[in-house]
């Protein structure tokens, strides 16, 4: 267990998340043909749910133009060129061919809550009407033993076909006594292994499920680990962040429908379409970073003028995620937008490494090199180093926390 956690850390400090936003005409033409074939095969399959997306759109009075706007946004999110838009629209209509099972382990339900707020057309139309959500503890109709049975039935009936979404970490200390589930009282670990055995792919949603998240923060009292530490020999996709962005959850499902495969992943198993670049690269405050204009203290003039939050602890330059573009709550806003800075929540061990009070430059974090790093221009990079010196002083006092990460850094 400890080894694989350390592996994650190592991976994070090495070359990772290299992304090509344009892969050339040949690549896209091939993919287009493949996706077309895949969709026509899917179309021939009987739907699991007798609900048609087009009907849903019409009866719910959702404007076709609004729907197409959503399609074009989603196509861009998946980093596909506009020629894929008709296929993405079609894939949306075929969501009812893919069964989804969603389990909650050591979690706070934050990712389920986020999913309830997925982009328009509203999630109840898109996901609950069309997507065949076979089991979701909070959202399903069944309760009690019926719910237990429904889960068993779904797993049996859709053997080898269902996408298993996992929310929450897995407590391994004291034989898993910190989390049990169902009438039989099986541990979260046993439950995860049983549910993932016959899944077509496992999708870990949120930083708890991907990297252990907050339960794994030092001293990790319950011995929490992420799904990737336990599930092997199976396509596994990590969608970290706290909460994970529902746009990325929908994106992964659509990509699977479109291609029958998991999307291209980085070394931490995160889809590159969502985690291929840093928050910093597309931040609305980036110009102020480049110009050397920083908020020095919350509430100062810089804060009032929306300057860069780097010196008050923003972890954007080290955090791979698309939230500077997608934002949250259907694009309403995101943390940097209201002046609070990124906390690096889609990175492993962010609780200990990136803790809020410590400006990043003092936290001894090694930057991932290569790939995206090259997109930071010389001036920006130079400044990053220069700022680091200034900030280091402030950081000393707060370095007492996060013993776990300090220990590792010393090694």
């Amino acid at each position: 267990m400890v080894d694989s956690q350390d592996m994650v850390k190592k991976v994070f400090t090495q070359k990772s998340a290299r992304i090509d936003t344009n892969k050339g005409e040949n690549y896209y033409n091939n993919l287009f043909e493949k996706a077309k074939q895949r969709l026509s095969t899917l179309k021939k399959q009987a739907p699991l749910k007798d609900i048609d997306m087009v009907d849903v759109i019409e009866t719910e009075g959702i404007n076709r133009r609004d729907f197409m706007k959503w399609v074009s946004g989603t196509t861009a999110t998946l980093m596909l060129p506009p020629m894929f838009e008709p296929l993405v629209a079609e894939a949306t209509e075929l969501m009812n061919r893919v069964p989804v099972v969603w389990i909650e382990l050591q979690d706070c339900a934050g990712n389920s809550e986020a999913l309830l707020r997925s982009a328009s057309p509203t999630v109840d139309d898109l996901l609950f009407d069309v997507l065949s959500l076979e089991f979701h503890e909070t959202l399903q109709a069944a309760a009690g033993h019926d719910a237990d049975r429904q889960l068993e039935d779904a797993v049996e009936h859709f053997k080898g076909q269902y996408l298993l979404f996992v929310e929450g970490a897995i407590p391994m200390a004291n034989n898993g006594m910190y989390g049990t589930i169902g009438a039989s009282g099986e541990t979260f670990h046993e439950h995860l292994m049983r549910m993932s055995k016959d899944a077509a792919a496992v999708i870990a949603v949120g930083t708890c499920a991907t990297f252990g998240g907050i339960p794994a923060a030092a001293p990790n009292p319950t011995g929490a680990v992420g799904v990737m530490d336990l599930v092997k020999g199976k396509p596994l996709i990590n969608i970290p962040a706290c909460p994970a962005n529902p746009a990325n959850m929908v994106g992964v499902i659509l990509h699977y429908i479109l291609t029958g495969q998991v999307p291209e992943l980085d070394s931490l198993l995160r889809p590159k379409f969502a985690f291929g670049y840093r928050i910093h690269d597309n931040c609305e405050r980036r110009a102020h970073f480049d110009a050397g204009e920083f908020v020095e203290e919350f509430g100062d003039d810089g804060a009032k003028n929306n300057w860069c939050l780097y010196k008050v602890g923003c972890k954007g330059p080290m955090t791979f995620n698309n939230c500077s573009i997608i934002r949250y709550n259907e694009g309403t806003n995101w943390p940097v937008g209201v002046g609070r800075g990124c906390i690096g929540c889609s990175e492993p061990d962010f609780w200990d490494k990136y803790a809020y009070q410590r400006p990043m430059a003092g936290a001894n974090i090694k930057a991932p090199t290569g790939g995206v790093e090259k997109t930071v221009d010389e001036f920006g990079l130079g400044l990053l180093t220069a700022t680091a010196v200034g900030i280091g002083v402030h950081a000393v006092a707060s370095a007492v926390a996060g013993k776990k990460s300090e220990h590792n850094e010393e090694e």
Binding site: A109, T138, G144, H145, A224, A397, A401
Partner: protein, 451 residues
């Protein structure tokens, strides 16, 4: 006869173990079997880190935890005679943020959890609209909740898990446009509440005196009341009928009620017991069956939450209902919905009061690092009831962080001969379906309960 049942569709899972005699529940245990150990994780962390940790205790009431942490840290400044000055703007933005979270939580709870379950008890087809996922009302409720929470995201950055508050104020500086956007979202929520929930205009609702005022209406509340009366929920779900509210704001008063006398509260009399609860790294004893602890005031159990708040704040409709039906499921659920309606109304007013020219944040003259050793305490009203945070710093580092959540008051195990609040309310129910609904009337959240 002993039965074990799973309670799903709460946040997390709970087990309900019942003893039955003559088809009635004579004893009940509510078990929460998931634990993360936040209080252990917060130990040895810098004080400000708690602002990002505690909201993650719960994906539904993170705002309440955030506000509790910010205020507990501000209380530390008070304890060393260096009180911080918080502008009205910052105070308003904090309260508006928390209100919106409660609004969202109440809408969801009613449409996702209460109505689908209670509608199942009737064969009448008109209640099919409350069916989970498929029902029209279920979907409208989900939609209304997601829309209203956007008003929070506008100035808090995202929801769930925002961290825009800090000791001294808030980080965000909403523009006039942001304020208007928030108003628009609240207007939509109000419209939903008038059209779908009440079936009448809010001004009329404020004149309601009793459930008979709902007779001629066609909103979800009228359906709920009918279903309650048909299934005896105006008699079921009664507990000790003693109530506590630990803090006050624009809508709520603090205090406690025992046999009709309202009294003040003293936070130092609140304590947490763990006689029947599991302990970290200790072998389990026979009497231990849950991760939930038990909160007591002056060694006595109290109910906390919307019903307690309505009674202590003297809100008319609920006060009248309570005279007739006591602390039954009917009164408890209606109190939560009454609170929802008042909160939307009041929050709209509060948004109007925000003066954007004021400062959002005034930096403290002293850093928490300079304070060294001190203790801070705070209480806030969260969706499910009173939430208490107590933090002790030693050498500027968190030595101890104690969180007492609303669910620990309502859903924790009893102590000695005394049952816990929900435990007592369930005893006497004559079917499992009804026991579920009694339990749900407390708005169960397993992650907050155990944290």
């Amino acid at each position: 006869m002993k039965t074990l049942n799973i309670v799903e569709r709460i946040e997390g899972e709970a087990k309900l173990v019942c003893n039955w005699e003559d088809e009635k529940i004579t004893d009940a245990q509510i078990q929460f079997l998931n634990f993360r150990g936040f209080e252990y994780i917060l130990k040895d962390k810098p004080a400000l880190d708690a602002l990002v940790y505690t909201p993650r205790i719960c994906g539904i009431c993170g705002q309440a935890h955030l506000k509790a942490t910010a205020q507990a840290l501000e209380n530390i400044y008070e304890s060393v005679n260096e009180p911080l000055y918080i502008t009205d703007k910052a105070k308003l933005l904090r309260e508006i943020g928390l209100n919106i979270e409660i609004i969202d939580s109440h809408i969801k709870w009613f449409y996702l959890f209460i109505m689908p379950d209670i509608a199942k008890l009737s064969k009448d087809e008109k209640y099919l609209k409350y069916e989970a996922i498929k029902g029209e009302s279920w979907r409208k409720g989900t939609y209304a909740a997601s829309e209203s929470i956007k008003a929070l995201a506008v100035f808090a950055g995202q929801w769930p898990h925002t961290s825009y508050m800090l000791p001294g104020g808030v980080m965000s500086d909403p523009t006039l446009f942001d304020i208007m956007t928030m108003q628009n979202y609240m207007d939509q929520t109000l419209h939903f509440i008038e059209k779908e929930l009440i079936g009448d205009e809010i001004e009329n609702y404020f004149n309601f005196n009793n459930i008979s005022d709902f007779d001629s209406l066609n909103g979800a509340l009228s359906d709920f009341i009918k279903l309650c009366l048909e299934n005896d929920f105006h008699n079921l779900g009664k507990s000790y009928n003693s109530h506590i509210v630990l803090s006050k704001n624009y809508l709520f008063e603090s205090g406690r009620i025992e046999i009709k006398n309202r009294q003040s509260v003293d936070l130092s009399l609140v304590k947490e017991e763990d006689i029947n609860s599991f302990k970290m790294n200790e072998p389990r004893r026979d009497n231990e069956y849950t991760w939930a602890k038990t909160a007591l005031y002056n060694d006595k159990p109290y109910e906390t939450g919307p019903l307690s708040r309505a009674l202590i704040s003297n809100r008319k409709l609920i006060k009248n209902m309570h005279k007739e039906y006591n602390d039954s499921v009917l009164t408890r659920v209606m109190a939560r919905m009454d609170e929802l309606i008042y909160l939307v109304f009041i929050t709209k007013k509060l948004i109007k009061q925000v003066d954007i020219s004021q400062d959002s944040f005034i930096p403290p003259k002293l850093s928490l690092k300079d304070i060294g050793t001190a203790t801070g305490i705070s209480a806030v009203e969260a969706a499910r009831g009173s939430l208490l945070h107590k933090v002790t710093l030693e050498n500027s580092i968190i030595k101890n962080y104690d969180v007492i959540t609303p669910s620990v008051w309502n859903l924790g195990p009893g102590i000695n001969e005394k049952y816990g609040i929900a435990q007592k309310a369930i005893i006497g129910a004559n079917s499992l379906e009804k026991a579920y609904i009694i339990l749900r009337s407390f708005d169960v959240c397993s992650v907050c309960t155990t944290h």
